[in-house]
Amino acid sequence: MKSAVIVFPGSNRERDMLYALEKITGEKPLPVWHTETELPKVDLVVLPGGFSYGDYLRTGAIAARAAIMDDVRKKADQGVHVLGVCNGFQILCEAGLLPGVLVRNNHLKFVCKHVKLEVANASTDFTNKYNKGDVWRCPVAHGDGNYFTDAETLARIEGEGRVVFRYAEGTNPNGSLNDIAGIINDRGNVMGLMPHPENEIEPLNGGAEGRNLFESVLEAVA
């Protein structure tokens, strides 16, 4: 599988993501600088975690307006898979590629810890290697992961099975609505999530169930 990782000024988990993608897909992903206007031909485009533009103004806001984002939008329209993790999720929301917004954690503090994630929809291209209802351990690290959207949108994404991951077993770390940890677009090719599956891929991490997410895409695009 060919993949690309977009690097914005202030991205800081792009190296984690590049490492995970290479380890799992067996192919070197291509880093893409935010000022580029065209993505390389790939099966998966990843917006990594970090503090793009320092998280200044609103998280993800400035990055969402970077030059490369027009092509991200275009590729998404063409059905290319797009994954946003943490800051990447925030950027996708700000760019209008996913509904809703991630606001400050309800306790107002940055939080880094392991949470439990429940697979709410196992029939997406990002989750087909999981079973519905699976609960797995995954780290979070963010200050603004509190998912919010209006009641109508919430009802719609819930109704359409577009909530993909939920914080389980009372581990919601940020006050997110309906314990939402990750959502997908209506077409099913753009997903965003706050937790960091790229940091849960090998014994060193104390668990490797984040791999399933990348392996799901690998299978989906094969």
Partner: protein
């Protein structure tokens, strides 16, 4: 705007923190009255923070070399060889006074400063730690300070993208008006690609990189050396604001530029900004420096030479570049959206010359600015050795279990989770052991190698007996690295003390350094970098002497690492090292009996080494399932921590030759608690006997209670509630730091 040719009055000299005899030395050196800019430059270079005038004499006594040391003290950070052509670069630095005035920004810029020290040398930061000391919990300002400092440390490190994996948090009333924020950072580089600050070559461009210069922190360096008084509120506008976003860009731009081969010398702008960095680069290279301030990128209009030379705006660097590569270098910095300006040249006349608007604002001998700084042999009196506390003089409690509960839930011994969950300790994906253990462990590359990091000091021991306390801090640091299976390599130290002009405080300083030096020599654990912070006093009252020690250790095979948690029920628990029940200066004495008395536990460095080498060898032979060193709170607390971490209880039988409370809470040094399968105990004890290492089986892991023979069992649930509960409950009463 203050003119440069203002008359230098004794008041002005005093305001610059210079003593009359120091000013006389300036007059003698330059043979005329200095300009205002020159006075500012001298005050920056000759203050305690930059010149180490009170401490130099004693720092020289520390051992700083060893087979693995590539670069010891004198550069931005120390460099140690870790094999395979790699080096670890690390240092610790204080930001105490700024953090008291503005906790969030003070701590944040402290972290930013130490990260810069590390990447200035060509290293990518891989670990950050922080040693924090706050006032008594009940002091009205403590919560605010904790909340701001922790948010600031996290705010900077999280955004920058370095895992913050450890440190210390303590409370003591001596820090009521003067918290300590000591930030440690370590970075990884190729051993043959280290960058230094020594300029080489005449007529080469001096390049300014990073963020623009504003009026931030003018007088910051002087402030960091001045004792706090009631007027500290007045000093507020000197606070610097950190911009971790710019620092991250600066990191990437610097590493890219260094890889391009264009950098001849590089120095970050830390305390006293442009002044310190330019003087250091020139003086080290036996070169003069000429700066044209009209070329300095400024954030504010109308800045004077004085202001520009003393500004402590953050996220800035100075480089000497290969002139042939200027264009490439500029392109790299533009790509990262950072300022790049040639602001001067190296010269052959050994002068430090500053021009602005075509006028000479300062013209000083560059070597003398650094080398001729005053150096003091301050009078000192040794701290009187306290008598050892007689065991009979320490009453036993009615209920040891209740005492344990009290200790695990006390401000100094409770879980620090509330703090480290605000730090991204997982970023970079290499965290093998995160916060909460004896030492944190970070994977290095994919050969199986890893590095261990820890920060340690017990200020109450140092106060009672500086020499033993200094030794103990190094020994505990060494022990913590050993406890995860690492070979201790080297340390950095951050020496926080009160006013050195007082002979008893100076005596604490001298004593601690003696102890540190002795321990470093005995353990082959050289000092490769460090920092001194003096004048940590408020209204005449000094802090506890606090020489924080930051240690780095190497694990050749990360798979063979040990952690503190009990792994399964039914395993034997063995104590390595001799338990004598030393209660002087113990946590039991202080926190349960409210007494601060006696001598601290003596440190026998030969025994420390022998016991530690034994434990490390056992870990590497994969014979142990859990390892924890014994320190504050003694054996009983160590056992409780192992049980809580593993969610498994234990049944303990104390050998009957000591009063139970002394056995349980004594703080004898050089000890470890280990677990292993019962079937392997006999062999372990035999190997220990052969090595001359005391080892005794004290019980087994079992169930969900911690039971000490003859005491009430305590459920892990109760222990955990007490342990995890205190800090969040305490902090809940503080408004969260609005970011």
């Amino acid at each position: 705007m203050i003119p440069n040719d203002v008359k230098i009055t004794p008041e002005l000299v005093a305001e610059h923190g210079l003593k009359p005899d120091e000013y006389q030395r300036i007059l003698d050196l330059i043979g005329r009255e200095p300009t205002l800019t020159e006075l500012g430059i001298f005050s920056a270079m000759w203050n305690e923070h930059c010149s180490y005038k009170s401490s130099k004499k004693w720092l020289r006594t520390l051992p700083t070399t060893g087979p693995r040391v590539i670069c010891g003290p004198g550069e931005n950070a120390g460099v140690v060889d870790i094999g395979d052509g790699q080096a670890i670069i690390f240092k610790m630095e204080s930001h105490n006074h700024p953090s008291y005035i503005e906790p969030y920004q003070g701590a944040a810029t402290g972290v930013g400063g130490i990260l810069r020290d590390v990447f200035t040398m060509g290293a990518r930061p891989i670990a950050a730690l922080n040693a924090l000391r706050f006032g008594a919990p009940e002091h009205p300002r403590t919560r605010h300070t904790v909340s701001g400092v922790v948010a600031g440390v996290g705010g900077y490190g999280n955004s920058f993208g370095v895992p913050t994996i450890g440190g210390e948090v303590n409370f003591d009333e001596s820090y009521n008006g003067n918290c300590l924020v000591n930030a440690f950072a370590a970075g990884l580089a190729d051993a043959d690609k280290i960058f230094y600050s020594q300029a080489k070559g005449v007529g080469l461009p001096i390049v300014y990189l990073g963020s623009k210069t504003g009026r931030d922190g003018i007088h910051g360096a002087t402030m960091a050396s001045a004792e706090f008084g009631a007027d500290s509120e007045e000093k507020r506008p000197t606070v610097q604001i950190g911009d971790p976003f710019s620092e991250k860009l600066l990191l990437e731009a610097c590493l890219e530029l260094m890889a391009s081969g264009a950098v001849i010398a590089i120095q970050d702008m830390g305390a006293a900004g442009l002044t310190c960095s330019a003087v250091e680069m020139g003086a080290k290279g036996d070169l003069g420096v000429e700066l044209d301030l009209d070329k300095v990128p400024c954030r504010e209009a109308g800045m004077t030479a004085y202001e520009m030379m003393l500004s402590e705006s953050q996220e800035r660097m100075l480089m000497v570049l290969d002139p042939k590569r200027e264009k490439d270098a500029e392109a790299i910095f533009r790509k990262w959206g950072l300022d790049f300006a040639i602001i001067g040249w190296t010269t052959d006349d050994l002068r430090f010359r500053i021009k602005q608007h075509g006028q000479i604002m300062a013209d000083l001998p560059i070597k003398e600015l650094g080398d001729q700084a005053p150096e003091y042999d301050r009078p000192w009196v040794a701290t009187p050795k306290p008598a050892a506390l007689a065991p009979a003089d320490v009453p036993a409690p009615n209920d040891l279990s209740e005492v344990l509960l009290k200790i695990v839930g006390s401000p100094d011994q409770c879980s620090r989770r509330w703090v480290w969950e605000q730090y991204d300790h997982l970023i970079q994906g290499n965290t093998a052991i995160g916060p909460g253990g004896d030492a944190a462990v970070i994977r290095v590359g994919h050969s199986g190698k890893a590095l261990a990091f820890t920060l340690d000091v017990s200020p109450r021991y140092c106060a009672a007996d500086p020499v033993e306390g200094g030794k103990q801090a190094v020994a505990e640091c060494w022990r913590n690295l050993t406890a995860v299976g690492a070979e201790p390599l080297a340390i950095t130290d951050n020496l926080n003390f009160g006013n050195p002009e007082k002979p008893d405080i100076m005596g604490q300083f001298v004593g601690c350094i003696q102890g540190i030096g002795e321990a470093c020599r005995a353990l082959d654990f050289p000092v490769v970098s460090g920092n001194v912070s003096l004048y940590n006093e408020t209204n005449g009252k000094g802090i506890l002497p606090t020489p924080a020690i930051g240690g780095v250790g190497l694990l050749p095979d990360m798979a063979k690492r040990a952690t503190v948690s009990f792994k399964r029920a039914g395993e034997a628990i063995v104590v390595i090292g001799e338990t004598k029940g030393h209660l002087g200066q113990s946590i039991y004495l202080r926190d349960v009996l409210a007494r601060r008395e006696g001598a601290p536990p003596p440190v026998d460095l030969a025994i420390e080494r022998r016991n530690g080498d034994f434990v490390r060898a056992e870990i590497r032979a994969e014979g142990l399932t859990a390892v924890h060193d014994v320190s504050d709170g003694g054996l009983f607390l160590a056992l409780a921590e192992m049980a809580m971490a593993g969610g498994i209880g234990a049944k303990i039988e104390a050998p009957g030759d000591l009063p139970l409370h002394a056995w349980a809470f004594g703080e004898d040094q050089a000890r470890y608690v280990v677990t292993l399968p019962e079937t392997m105990v006999k062999d372990l004890l035999a190997r220990a006997a052969k090595a001359g290492v005391p080892a005794v089986r004290i019980g087994a892991t079992a169930g969900h209670e911690l039971t000490l023979d003859g005491c009430n069992p305590i459920s892990l649930q109760r222990l955990k509630a007490a342990h995890e509960g205190w800090l969040p409950a305490y902090m809940a009463a503080a408004p969260a730091e609005a970011l």
